[in-house]
Symmetry: D2
Subunit: 451 residues, 4 copies
C-alpha cells in the first residue's frame, strides 16, 4: 500500500472490536466495516475502499463492495467532493513505484519489464472500481457515480484523471459484444416504457398516448440497446418512421395517424436518437445501433430502399449569432422576432438564405479539432452517412426555433457508401454531401460570386 | 502507428483496387481486407489487425473484427505462433513513447501527466483485443484464443506479456456482476447438458443416465455460472448432494439411488467443482459460485445445517513420493502394488499412517509462495473453509488411487467463520483445521514424540 | 344434413366455377367460399358455416373457419340478428332425428343406444362452434361473439338455447386446469396493463399513475388469470392491499402512500375483483383466483394472518328504496339529500340505523332462488367466506353513495372454515356471520323488541 | 341425484365423524373424503366422485378432484374395471329423466325444451370428468385414464359409451386453437427430448446421438405440438429431412452425414410422424401439424419446391398373405425366406411384381368402410396428398421387412391440389395417384390383359 493510511488506520483502530484491532489497516475486514455502522457515511466509505484494496479475498469482497456503495448513496454534495479528492489523491499511482518500475524498464525495455510498469502506472482506482463492481447491481450504481463525477468535474478540473479511469473501464464493460438490441413495443414492460418516455429529449413525449403512437403502429418502431448488468435500463434508443418519402418536417411524423395499410414503405426514417445514462458519456453505441436496426429492418421489410434521418441542427442558431458575414448579419435581422413564422411572404423571401447558411454551417463550420461544429453532424458523418438535404422550416417547436431557427437536416445512410464515406471522413475530413445540399451550396457560391 | 508496417503496406498496395490504393497503410479498409480473400489466412489476419488499429470508425470495426477472427480460425499451429510473435513485437508499447511520457511525468508527477503515460504503457494489444471483441460471438472466440496462447506459452515463455493482456481484459469482462447463476436441471437445454457432461473432469460422467442421476433427483443439484457474452456455455459448475451426514466416500454419492423422501437433508455436500474454459484460467468464479449456492440452498431448504465438500487431494501421491521422512518411506512400501485394496488387514494397519501423512500434507506442505501445496486446499482455504476431515479410503477410482492413494478430504464452510478464516489465511497463512483433523495431527505428534 | 339448404345451394350453384358446381351443397369447399368474395358478409358467413358442417376434412377447416369469422366481423346489428336466427333455426337439432333415436333408446334403454340419442340432441351449433374454434385467435372472437349474443338475447329471449351452447362449450374450454395465474407488476407488458385499467370497474383507475400505485408498491398487488387461447387478455383480476388492520374505508386504500417498510403486514385485503370479458358470463373464475392468491401470499408472506375483503354492496340502495318497514321508511327520510355527508351530527345519529338495515339486507334479503339478494354477497358466501362487518360510511364516491348509501362490507376468508361454510351455505343457505355483524344484528333485534 | 347411492351412503355414514354424519350423501364433503384415508382406494375414489357430483361448490372441487385422481392412481387392473363399471352404471343418464324430458319436448319440440332434454341425455360422466379436470395436472392424468379405458375396452365392449364421453370432451379440450407448434432442437429441454426418443416408433431412435442427428443438423428438423394443459408433453411430432430429391430409401436418411452446406434444399421429406399419448386416440392433430410445418418451412426456405413423405406401408404384408390372386400367390413364394435380400438376381426379377401388388394394395384394397385398407394411406390421402411412388426395397429394417416386405411409399403434398384432392377423397373416395404410381398400375393392367 502506497498511500498514507494513517487517518484511516487510526480510525479503524479506534472503532474496531478488540479481537480485530491491532492487525493494521490491511487487517480491516468486512466485519470491521460493519462494526462502523453509525459512523458518518464518508468514513464508512473510506474504510470500505481501504479494505477492498487490502489483501481481501473474494469471500469478503462482495459484502464490502455493497457496504461501500450503500455508504456512497448517503453522501451529500460536499461529501462526494471529498470522496473524489480521496480517490484522486489516495487511490492514485505511487510516483516512487512508477519511477522504480520505469528505471528497470528503461534499462531493459522488454515486454516482461513492461508488465510491472503497467501495473504501477495503472491507478489503484481502476482496481477499486473493478472490485466495487462485484456487488449485485453495482454496474448501474457506478454509472451513476460517474454522472456525479462529471458534474463535479465542471467545478474541479483536477478530477479529470478519475474520469479517465471510469471511461477506460466502461469501454470494456459496455463492449458492443455484451449489448443486445430489442425492439420496444406496446408489449414491453411498463418499467422500460416509462424510461423511454423519460429519456426522450430530442422530441419529448407527451405521455403514454404519444409513446403508443411511436411504437404501437405498423409504421413506427423503437429499438434500444440493453446491457446484462444494467437490466431493464435502455442505454440508447432510436425511433423510426416507415414512410414513402424522405420527410422534411418533424411535426407530421409525431402527430400523423398511421399510414394506410395499403402501400409498402420504401423509406425508414430515423427521427430521434437518444442516449440515456449521462454516466456513459463517451461510450458510443449509436453507430452500432443504427447499423443493426438497418440490418433488421432490411431483412423484415424488403420494400425498404432508403435509410435516412430527420435530424436537428442544435448548434445552428448559436453559430449564426456569432457569424459576421454580410449574409449572416442580414439573415439575423430578418429572423428577428420570428415574424416569418406567421408571414408566408417573409418566409419565402428568406428561405434561400436560411438554407444556404445552414448548408454552410454543416459543411464549413469546424470545431477546433477540425471536425464539423455541429454535434449531430459529427455523429452521422462519422457513421458514414451523407448530409443529404436542409429542410426549412422543419421543426417549428420552441426548441427547434430557439436552437436552429427551425432548420432540420436529413442524413442519408447508403449501404454501399457507408464505409468509404466513413473512411474519407475520418481520414481526410471529407463531408459527404447529397444532391439537394450540393445544389444549395452551388447556388450560394453563384450568389457570392454575383455579390 | 509505431510498428514497421512496410510488409503490410506493400501487400495492401499490391492487392488493393485502384481507388483505395495510395492512401497508405492507415487507409486500409474493411473493403481492403475483403479484397484479400484468397490470400493466406495469416496475411489477412495481420492486415485486419492493422486496419483495426488504424483510424477506423465504429462503422467498419465489427466487419473487420469478424474477418480477423475468421482468419484466425484458419491458422495452423505454426501460423498461430507467428501471430503471437506479431502481437508481441508489433502490437506492444513503443519504448520511445513511454520514455517521452515518463519524462513529462517525471518532471511533474501529476495525475494529469499520468494519463498519457498510462496510455503509452498499455500495450496496443489491449485496444486490439477490445476491438476484436466487438464482433458477434467474439468473446467466446477470444477465450479460446487465449487457451491456444496458454499452450504456446509452455513452448515460448516470452509470450507471457500477451497473456497478461488477456488476463487483464478478461478480469473486466468476466466481472462477477455480469454473471448469472442458474440451476441446471433435466429441463435445461440439451446443448447445456452435454457441455456439463463434457466438462466434468473431477468425477467424469458415464453418459446421460449418470448426468440425470446428478441433477434430476430430489437430493442432487447442479448450479452453474453463465455470462451474457458466452451464452449457453457454463463457465463453472458445482455438483451438490443433499444428505444427512458428512460423507467420507465418493462412490455412494455417484451411484446411490435417491434418498427416501421422508427425511429432510441437513447437509449439503459439494462433491465436484469444475472450471470449463481453459482460456479463463486465473479468472476466479468458484468462490462466488459456492457462496451463492449456499445462499440459495439455505433459503430453499431451511433444514440444512452443514455445508461441506467431499474433495480430492490431487497432489498427495506426488508429494508422498518425494517425501524422505521415515514415516513416508515406510508408508510408500506398504502402498506399493496397492495390495491394501483387496486386503482388509493391510488396510486397517496402514490407515493411521495414511491419515497422518495426508494431514501433514494438507497442513504443512507448502508451495514456494508459502501457500499450501495442494491446489484444492488452496482454493477452499482461500474461500474461508476449514480443513475438516481426512477420509481414507475415500476414492477408489483409478484416478483417486493414482493421484492420492484414495485419500479424500472434507472442507467445511461455516457461515460465521468464513470471513475470519479467510482473512487469517490470507494475512497470516493460517490453515483452519477441524476437530477430526486436529485429532489426527495430535496423534501424529504423539507418535513422533514416541519415536 | 338435416336443414333446408335450398337457398344456399342455389346461391352456391349460381356462383361456383363450373368445375366445382353440380356437386350439391356438400361439395361446397373453401374454394367455393373464397369465390364468394364480393358477396354480402352474411351470405359468405352462411355459406362458410354450411361448408364447415359438411363432410369437410381438417385440411380445409381452418381456412373456412377463418373466412367465417372474418365475415362475422363485418356484420351490422341487424345482420347479426339474422345470423342468430339462422343458428337457432338451421343449426339446431332435427326433431325427426331425435324422435327416431329416442324410439330406439326407449325400446332398449342401454348406454349404447344413448350415444346416438345424445348426438341427435346436441345442437349442430356446438359442432359448428368447435370447428370455428380451429382458426387462429378464434377463441377470443367467439367470446366476443357471445357478448353480442347476450346483448341480442335481451331483445329476443328465443335465442336463449344458442347461449346455452356457448356456455356449455366455454365451460370446457375455460376449464380451471387451462388457466395460469400471473402477478401483474410494473414490469408487465403495457398491453396487459392498459387492459387492467380499462376493465377495472369496481374502483375505476384514474390513469397510469393510479395503476402504478396499485401494483408497484410493496404493499399492493394485482393478480390475474390468463388462458392460453386468449393470450394477453386478463380474464379476471383481483387487487390486494397488504395492511395491518381490517379496513373500513376504501378511499385510503386507493390514495394512501405506501406503508412504511418497517412493519410486516398481517392482513391481506381484497378490495377489487373484476371479471373482464362479458362473453364469459357464467364461467366462474373468481373463487379459484382468490383461493390461489391466498395460497401464494401465505407462502410468500408468513406474517399474514387475516384474509379479508373490502367489498361494495351494490344492491343496498335499491333494496332500501323498496323496503316498506318503518325503520326503512324512516332511514330513507334521513338519507334524503345526502345531508349526512357534510353534517356529522346527522351521520352519527343515523349510523346505527344504516348498519342495522345493511346487516338485514345482507343476511335476510333473498333472491327468489333463495340465495342472498346481493350479488357480491352471493359470490363471497358461495366461496365459503363469512360476512364480517358492515362499514359506514365506507365508500363516499358517487357510485358508492348512489348504489349503497356509502355502505361497504368485509368478507372474511378463514382457511379452516371455508369448506364448512361453503357447504353449509350451498346445502342449507346458511349465511356465515362474523362477530361485528352479529352484534349489529343483535342490537337490531333488541331495538325491534323494544319497539 | 338419480343413482342408487345406498351403498355409498352407508359407507359414508359408517366412516364419517359424528359432526359430518347424518347429512345424507350430498353432504359428503372434501373433509369427509379426507377422513376416509386408510380406506381402500376404490372406496375413496367412489366417494370422491359422488361428492364431486353433489352440490359441491368451486371451493372444494379442486381438493376433491385431486383426491379422486390420487385414489385412481392406486387402483390395480381389476379395481379399474370395477371403476369403469361404476362410471358406466352409476354416472350414466337416468332413463326416467330422459323419458320425462323427451315427453315434454315431443309435445312441443322447441329449442327451449331441447335444453333439458340435452341435459338429461348427456351422461353424468361428462360433468364428472370436467370437474376432475379442475385439479392441477388433471388433463394429463385423464388422458392416461382413457388409455387405461381403451385397454379395458378390448375386454369389455360395453364400456364403449364411457369412451365416447372421453372422446367428446377431449375434442373440445384439445382444440386446434389451444395447440402451439414448436421446433424441437438441441437447445430444447432434455425432458422433452427424451420423450421424443421414447415416442418415436416409426423409425426408433438408437439414443442421444441418433436424436441429435435428427434435429441438430442443418438438413434435419423436428416439429411438435404442445398443449398448455399437458406442458412439456409433445402430443405429436414430425421429423423432416431437407434434401435435393424425393428419396426412395429410409436408411440413408437415418444415417447419412449432414449434406454439404453448398446446395440449397428443394425437397422437404416428412419421414416420420408419431402420435404420442394413446389416450388421445381419435383426436387428430397430424394434418394440422403437417400443414403448419409446410407453411413454416416454405417461409423460412424459399428454395423448397417439393413437400413429400417417405412412409411405411404397415398393412401390406398381411394383405398379401391373405390375397389369393395368382400374382400374389406367386410373389409370396418368391418372397419366402427373404432370399432376395442377399440375391440381387432374385430381387430384380421380383421387383415389378412387388411394385404392382403394392400399388394394387394402396389403390384398390379397401376397408369395409370403403376407405383404403392401409392406415398410413388413409391419413395422407385424407389430408389431400397424392400417392406418388412405390419404392422397393425402401426399408430393409426388421420391421420394414416383416410388415411390408421392405416396401415404402412417397405421398406428395401439392399446395394447390390439397383441397381438391382432399374433397374428392372425402366425398367420392378418389385416391389421387402420382405419375410413377400410375405407370406401375398401367404396366400391371397390361400384364393382366396379356395373361
Amino acid at each position: 500500500m502506497r498511500r498514507n493510511l494513517a487517518f484511516l488506520s487510526d480510525m479503524l483502530q479506534a472503532i474496531l472490536p478488540g479481537d480485530v484491532r491491532g492487525r493494521g489497516p490491511v487487517a480491516a475486514s468486512a466485519e470491521a466495516v460493519r462494526s462502523m455502522l453509525g459512523r458518518p457515511a464518508l468514513e464508512r466509505l473510506s474504510a470500505a475502499c481501504d479494505v477492498l484494496m487490502g489483501r481481501i479475498g473474494d469471500a469478503s469482497m462482495i459484502a464490502v463492495a455493497e457496504q461501500a456503495l450503500a455508504a456512497y448513496a448517503e453522501l451529500d454534495e460536499s461529501e462526494k467532493m471529498q470522496f473524489w479528492e480521496l480517490l484522486r489523491d489516495h487511490f492514485a499511482s505511487d510516483p516512487a513505484d512508477i519511477r522504480k518500475a520505469f528505471a528497470a524498464y528503461d534499462k531493459e525495455p522488454t515486454e516482461e519489464r513492461l508488465v510491472p510498469l503497467f501495473q504501477s502506472v495503472e491507478p489503484l482506482r481502476q482496481t477499486l472500481l473493478r472490485r466495487l463492481n462485484t456487488a449485485p447491481g453495482a454496474t448501474r450504481l457506478l454509472v451513476d457515480m460517474r454522472a456525479d463525477l462529471l458534474a463535479a468535474l465542471r467545478k474541479d478540473p483536477s478530477l479529470r484523471p478519475l474520469d479517465a479511469d471510469f471511461a477506460h473501464l466502461f469501454a470494456s464493460w459496455f463492449n458492443r459484444g455484451f449489448l443486445r438490441m430489442q425492439r420496444i413495443t406496446w408489449a414491453s414492460p411498463a418499467v422500460v416504457l416509462e424510461k423511454i418516455m423519460a429519456y426522450e429529449s430530442v422530441h419529448p413525449m407527451q405521455g403514454w398516448e404519444d409513446l403508443r403512437r411511436r411504437l404501437d403502429q405498423h409504421d413506427r418502431r423503437i429499438y434500444a440497446f440493453f446491457h446484462p448488468a444494467t437490466g431493464e435500463e435502455p442505454l440508447i434508443f432510436v425511433e423510426v418512421a416507415l414512410m414513402n418519402e424522405t420527410p422534411s418536417q418533424i411535426a407530421p411524423i409525431l402527430t400523423a395517424p398511421p399510414a394506410r395499410g395499403g402501400s409498402e414503405p420504401d423509406t425508414a426514417v430515423f427521427y430521434s436518437i437518444n442516449n440515456t445514462l449521462r454516466g456513459l458519456k463517451g461510450v458510443s453505441f449509436g453507430n452500432f445501433l443504427i447499423k443493426q436496426v438497418v440490418k433488421e429492418l432490411a431483412a423484415e421489410l424488403p420494400s425498404l430502399r432508403t435509410f435516412v434521418t430527420l435530424s436537428p441542427v442544435p448548434g445552428f442558431a448559436r453559430w449564426l449569432a456569432s457569424n459576421q458575414s454580410p449574409a449572416a448579419v442580414s439573415l439575423r435581422q430578418e429572423l428577428q422576432g420570428d415574424l416569418w413564422i406567421d408571414d408566408a411572404r417573409i418566409a419565402s423571401r428568406i428561405a434561400p438564405g436560411v438554407e444556404q447558411l445552414a448548408a454552410a454551417y454543416l459543411t464549413e463550420a469546424k470545431h477546433q479539432s477540425g471536425a464539423p461544429l455541429d454535434p449531430v453532424a459529427r455523429f452521422h458523418l462519422g457513421n458514414g452517412a451523407a448530409c443529404w438535404r436542409v429542410n426549412w422550416p422543419g421543426d417549428l417547436s420552441t426548441g427547434g426555433i430557439s436552437g436552429a431557427h427551425a432548420v432540420m437536416v436529413n442524413y442519408l445512410y447508403e449501404a454501399d457508401q457507408i464505409e468509404l464515406r466513413h473512411e474519407a471522413y475520418v481520414r481526410e475530413g471529407v463531408v459527404a454531401v447529397g444532391k439537394p445540399l450540393s445544389a444549395v451550396l452551388a447556388s450560394k457560391k453563384r450568389q457570392e460570386i454575383r455579390v
